[in-house]
Amino acid sequence: MEIFLQQLVNGIVLGSIYSLVALGYTLVYGIMGLINFAHGDVVMIGAMVTLTVIRLLSGSGLPGPLVVLCGLGAAIPFCMMTGYLMERIAYRPLRNAPRLAPLITAIGVSILLQNVAMLIWGREYLSFPQLLPAHAFPFLGASISFIQILIVAGSGIMMACLSILIRKTRLGNAMRAASQNAEVATLMGVEVNSVISITFMLGSALAAVAGMMVSAYYGIAHYDMGFLLGLKAFTAAVLGGIGNMEGAMLGGLLLGIIESMGAGYLGTLTNGAMGSNYQDVFAFFVLILVLIFRPSGLLGERVGERP
């Protein structure tokens, strides 16, 4: 039972990270119907920038959590800038091109970001120093570490803020208008171009936070970490219903739990025939099942009121 609970906790933590990244996919898809495959690499950039700042501050004697916060403070604007430039340079010229063109461009941007990161930060695995308290709290037999609480709470707060932003503010109104019908929104005085830019920047800010979380959690960062993470988050977005914000959150959490449970119990269930080495397969197995049985996702692809 305690092991089950521990796997559940692991799954929720992993799922919170997936949710944050999945929101980036869903926001962009909701507003312009583009699957931004470079989004996972923005997560990587977030992790790398955080790490760079942490290294610069490592000798300064500041308390660990403050150093991490400084890193995040640098990573968020940096990633927002990356997101903005990505949209401005790579996607805007293709706004009215056939749908396949921006999709392929997105893959190109992803490869570009990975290679630039490889040139700057090298090919080696980078270690994330243990700056956050490592101690764990016992909880009904399972142990929950400080960083796990931080990840779940952090992504919960970010998602709540985003929900409020999209539902209650003028900007959110403009975003929803642009997603329903960009042309009509333009006629109503919504500046669609800047709304799209802001959407990219919002998604990238979430990605920066996710990048910090994932590298702090696993203690490691490297230039192609965004690829698999991005694909899994995309799966999460599809699982919940792409373009649907609650869907991304639910899909992320579910995927994290499925993966964690799968890796933890597959060996026992199949009596050793299949083991934890199939962990990465689950995400894509789920993707296939969803595409077969419920192509619009669990909560549906809410076209009418896409956020």
């Binding site: 090919r123 764990a136 570490s145 060996g267 962990q279």
Partner: protein, 372 residues
């Protein structure tokens, strides 16, 4: 006038160059290791060992078969990928190299060894420890490092007899090296009376081990053994401690590197690992090698003394045979006896090193310390 002078000059220079290569025997040795990817630090380490040996040999007035000889190193990247390793092997064969030092991994050395064997080109791996590498019946496959049968036995004995581990969980990365070593370890540990409570798997690109570590933690093993490389075992060690598990952690030679400690951070304290052979400072030629190597390339990772020795042994066989022709010096490789940096080197009928030693290490105060 100036132009014709230049042409004349060029002609003279070209003549000189031609004259040079005519009197000098150029020996081309292929050096293959993962130079990119998560194991690139180890790959570069191996490659630097080969290069150090070559530059020393070249500076030492090398004469083979009465001819002045010069060694040229061709470095290739196998990305630790078996498929790429066979492409590199074919490339070396096509280029007609005289011998090959590599590959670093067992998973790459084994498929490549078939190609070298077919072409009759001697291959000495500085670091492939999987048993299968030398047991395929290839006359061209050699290694200068203790194999996994010897290492697995020493590890199991250490875990059960010295660390008194009764229940053990085993994880491997499903590569020829990791799986082979883990299988040997499991077999020997069972024979010594230990109970294997869990067997989990990951891969050599994974970073998330929380799920498998959690299910291991539920079985409360005294010790966790990992068969694989430091890029996984470092983060794994850290995640293990973050989960609140206090089980002992034992790795093999793939984990015994400064990289492991860097990646695991403070969690590395108390981890155990083995390494074939001796610690660099206890090797017969260790301190001297360390000085030479570090002046040129920086810190030794793991295997550079072995790749250095492998190169030296290969050239020694060429000297004895008086030829760098693979078919001429290959018979000499199994006869040659060489006092290398890592100790005396001679090969048995399979191509394994005759004298095998395994040393165990523990992390204390952020560094690997040999346990006597």
């Amino acid at each position: 006038m100036p132009r014709s002078f230049l042409i004349l000059l060029a002609a003279i220079l070209a003549g000189c160059a031609k004259h040079e290569s005519g009197s000098e025997l150029v020996i081309r040795i292929g050096s293959v290791a993962p130079l990119t990817g998560p194991q690139s630090h180890l790959g570069k380490d191996n490659d630097n060992g080969v290069r150090l040996a070559a530059s020393e040999l070249n500076a030492s007035n090398l004469v083979i078969g009465g001819k002045k000889a010069r060694i040229e190193i061709l470095s290739e990247d196998d990305q630790a990928d078996p498929r790429t390793a066979t492409i590199v092997a074919q490339k070396f064969v096509d280029e007609g190299v005289n011998g090959v030092i590599g590959d670093l991994n067992s998973g790459t050395s084994i498929p490549a060894s078939k190609i070298y064997s077919d072409a009759g080109i001697p291959q000495i791996s500085p670091s492939a420890t999987a048993i299968a590498y030398t047991s395929q019946g290839f006359a061209t496959a050699f290694r200068v490092i203790t194999n996994d049968r010897q290492q697995g036995e020493a590890l199991a004995k250490f875990a059960v007899d010295d660390l008194k581990a009764k229940s053990i969980a085993v994880i491997d990365d499903r590569t020829a090296y990791g799986q082979g070593l883990a299988d040997e370890f499991v077999k020997d540990a069972r024979a010594l009376g230990a109970n294997i409570v869990d067997r989990e798997y990951t891969n050599d690109h994974a970073t998330d081990f929380t799920a498998i570590l959690t299910s291991i933690k539920g079985k409360h093993p005294d010790l966790i053994f990992y068969g694989g490389m430091d890029a996984q075992s470092g983060p794994m060690m850290r995640q293990l401690r973050n989960l609140g598990s206090q089980s002992l952690f034992l790795g093999a030679d793939g984990s015994k590197s400064p990289e492991f400690i860097r990646l695991a951070g403070q969690s590395a304290e108390g981890a155990y690992a083995s390494s074939p052979g001796m610690p660099v400072d206890k090797m017969p030629g260790g301190p001297e090698f360390m000085k030479k190597f570090e002046a040129k390339y920086g810190k030794i990772q793991i295997y550079s003394p072995y790749s250095y020795d492998a190169t030296m042994v290969m050239v020694e066989a060429m000297k004895k045979a008086g030829s760098a022709e693979p078919s001429k010096y290959l018979p000499w490789l199994s006869k040659v006896e060489w006092n290398g940096v890592t100790g005396p080197i001679s090969f048995d009928a399979k191509g394994d090193i005759k004298r095998s030693t395994v040393t165990l290490y523990r992390v204390a105060n952020g560094a690997w310390k040999a346990i006597n």
